[in-house]
Amino acid sequence: MVFSSRLFLRCVLVVLALLLALPVLTVLFSWAQWNDASASILAEMASTVLPDYVGTSLLLCALVSVGVISMGTVSAAAVTLFDFPMRRSLEWALLLPLAMPAYVVAYAYTDYLQFSGPLQTGIRAAFGLEGRVFPEVRNVWGAACVFTLALYPYVYLLARTALSERANHLMEAARLLGAPLSRRIMRVALPLARPAIAAGTALALMETLADFGVSSYFGIQTFTAGIYKAWLVMDNRIAAAQLATLLLIVVVALLAAEQRAQSRLRFSSARADRHSSESQPLKLHGLSAAFVWTLCVLPVLCGFVLPVLFMVRALLQGDGVVDLPWDRFMQWSLTSLSLGGMTALLAVGAALLLAAQARLHPNWLTRQAMGVVSLGYAVPGAVIVVGLLLPVGWVQATWPQSGVGFWLTATVLGLVWAYLVRFVAVALQSVQSGYARVPASLDDSARMLGTSGLSLVRRVHWPLLKKPLAAATLLVLVDVMKELPATLVLRPFNTDTLAVMAYQLARDERLGEAALPSLALVLVGLLPVILLSRTLRRS
């Protein structure tokens, strides 16, 4: 009985991993389809633009890493370790930029700050100046700022979860041994949060590498721009997929380096003692309180409040808003929420299954499966679509009666599949960093007491993983609501989402009108952000 259930579980895992890995495998398979046309395109690009793409992408990643790690960690440490005015509000407000798609932040800032925008125009008019008042927003540096503001919540959320569950007895011990606060933070709290910070940064970097919206609008030449060019302009999906594999190699290297670094450290600790004096945040006064307060307010201000204000301004100034089909906003919102919610529950379930398997039965196969599944997040959405549509097209052509091509796009099956391929990695990162803090000794004790397998997961892991699982649900939910390339191509008839509407209007260069669905997207995205933030605090 035990054997058969274990076998069944393994089969489920293999099928799940294969389904999630299919687009990535299709992309890898592109090298087997090497032909002269793709070879000549790659050779031509390598001699002209590829070095530039690689350099730009690396620079962007370096800048975004510095940005999200500092912004995410500082704010997470501030709200968990210190007490200062408005701390409770800022605790959830710091998550607000999560509801903002990076491309919306980019549109909002550009519209306001560019040469022809109201700020520069106003300054020129007021002081009788000519020419540029401050540097161009739309370049690599500007993009790095946009990504930092839009993506730091990944680091913040995971680091905050880790820090609030920090090993209080270790902090207590450090205090008793006479370590000053700064030393306790640097040597105890932050190293304990490191897997979470690393996981959050990995997510932010993968999102940056997969982005097309911001980089195309800013006119910066990233590697993803090259992939899109090969696919859309050169009409060569093989060359595009081959380029995408190079991107995957970079991501594999990143993830491998991070895992190696982490494996040298043990992060797990026993359950935090809620009554320890160290679990009470340190009360700050005067200048230090003002300083920490500013550090926490700035990300919210720049990542949420200002873009929203800029959009509201564009909305009020634009015309044609009356042409928008207002009555359909509720439908678009519900579609966005339900697609996000459905995917979030499935993604978290799949991630828990995978992570539990890796925990209980670590072996080569499980590690490889997790690795391949994790890659999905770094693959640009459009490449996932191609990676999914190519094999489906092949099945449809081979067995025309199967109707698989129809089921993929006439229902939400294909769309949810694509979402899962892309976002299970998000859930997995969160669950894994949660698992990293659950000591293996607990598993051993449970086994000695006769609990193993799924029962161990249910009775021991689940209660300890509730917070990371809630965080994972939230991340996937809002990520799906913001997703564009797959939603554009794979959604069934008459199934528009807020992100699609915002994109369609922005693509038509109606930024004023695009502001409305963008704001609605932010508003709808706020519901789960607030709901789950409260849940995280309570549980």
């Binding site: 002209t48 560019q114 040469f115 022809s116 020419g131 161009e136 739309r138 370049n139 195309s216 609008y217 006119g219 030449q221 060019k229 859309l232 302009v233 050169m234 009409d235 100034q317 015309d319 042409d323 089909p325 519900l334 579609t335 929420l337 339900s338 919610g341 459905m342 529950l345 459009a382 679509v385 191609v386 549509l389 190519l390 097209g393 449809q396 052509a397 025309p400 109707g403 698989v404 091509g405 129809f406 796009t409 006439a410 229902t411 939400v412 509730k466 649900t473 554009l488 191509v489 794979l490 069934p492 008839f493 008459n494 209007l505 038509d508 260069e509 109606r510 009108e513 849940t535 309570r538």
Partner: protein
């Protein structure tokens, strides 16, 4: 936590029941439309058709490449009946890839000029029909640039315009089609030199859309810019004073009126290869060349109608040209075929 998740799951299951419902085909008068047109003003076009014929439209708006990829994967199971694309090269590519079903329709053949539709297949069917055109024009700063300095595309690369040019990414379909057409006029070598000249003349690296370029001219950041006419017309017709002021500050030139004419791109429609509602699909395309629909393209979205002799009822388009201009007659297949060549030229000369 548990309560939150329960509420979430209930809400999801309620809505997903609706999302999982597949498209109904049997007996219902319907067409399934894949459209790369992304203009909210088209809503009126579709609802008018349903009102007039009783045929319901199920629609997915996506971009051209996404539509083609989706059609290829769906194969014979594709539910698509009509496909609308917004770029000549993409229409040609769809035809070459066998995505479209060549059709015969007297109405369409009479309404759409020969150069704005696919070449007839062996059995006399036509794979796609142009429905509206967009002119790619030059706008200039009336205070700083002389009109005669920018009245041909070739002059965009002239050293006299150094440091003045603003243009969106070279890889955007609108630019690729213009450059593809130029390759036909000038030949590949001269086109590459021309592209290099434009890079040398740029006031800033390519970024943003066409509206951004017009605003950049109006704010004094650049002297000249390249744009499709409907973006300018929209600004001209805006009720927002700031946008109106932008349009008033810039002048517009329809280039090459003394030679081969201004480049026009075409938005067109086709019946999907495996359409299950062919009669309705053809009816819809025929409706799109009717006076009402053509008037909608001109008035609703500031495009140029394809049907000759249409009374243009758009003050902005009239103001630009008096309602008429000379447009180039480069074969659309040539524009499509030049696309890869053009992208490689752009990469070589550093045109981003």
């Amino acid at each position: 936590m548990r309560r939150t998740l329960t509420v979430l799951s209930l809400a999801i299951s309620a809505v997903s029941a609706g999302l999982f419902s597949t498209t109904a085909f049997a007996d219902e008068q319907v067409i399934n439309l894949y459209s790369a047109r992304h203009y909210p003003t088209d809503e009126a076009l579709y609802s008018d058709f349903t009102k007039a014929t009783g045929i319901k439209i199920n629609r997915v708006d996506s971009d051209d490449a996404g539509i083609i990829a989706r059609l290829k994967a769906e194969g014979t199971a594709s539910p698509a009946d009509v496909i609308l694309l917004v770029d000549a090269a993409r229409l040609w590519k769809g035809e070459v890839d066998g995505m479209f079903l060549p059709i015969k329709s007297k109405t369409l053949e009479t309404a759409v000029p020969t150069q704005l539709r696919a070449k007839p297949s062996d059995d006399g069917g036509t794979a796609w029909f142009g429905l509206s055109t967009r002119a790619r024009v030059v706008v200039y700063d009336k205070l700083k640039v002389k009109r005669e300095d920018v009245d041909t595309y070739e002059e965009l690369a002239d050293p006299k315009n150094k440091g003045k040019l603003c243009i969106r990414s070279g890889s955007h379909p609108y630019n690729l089609s213009l450059f593809g057409a130029m390759t036909e006029h000038l030949g590949p070598a001269a086109t590459e030199t021309w592209l290099k000249g434009m890079v040398d003349n740029m006031a800033r690296a390519p970024k943003g859309g066409d509206t951004d370029q017009i605003k950049a001219v109006a704010s004094g950041e650049c002297g000249i810019a390249v744009t499709n006419t409907y973006y300018l017309a929209r600004l001209m017709r805006s009720t927002n004073p700031a946008e109106k002021a932008v349009a008033e500050r810039v002048g517009v030139v329809f280039p090459n009126q003394q030679s081969w004419g201004t480049h026009v791109n075409v938005a067109g429609g086709a019946v999907a290869r495996y359409s299950k509602n062919q009669t309705n699909a053809v009816k819809f395309l025929e409706y799109l060349v009717s006076p009402e629909a053509q008037n909608h393209f001109a008035n609703g979205n500031n495009e140029w109608p394809v049907v000759k002799g249409m009374k243009l009822d758009n003050p902005a388009l009239k103001a630009m040209t008096g309602g008429n201009f000379k447009s180039e007659l480069v074969p659309i297949s040539a524009v499509g075929m030049n696309q890869i060549k053009v992208q490689q030229m752009l990469d070589r000369v550093g045109f981003k």
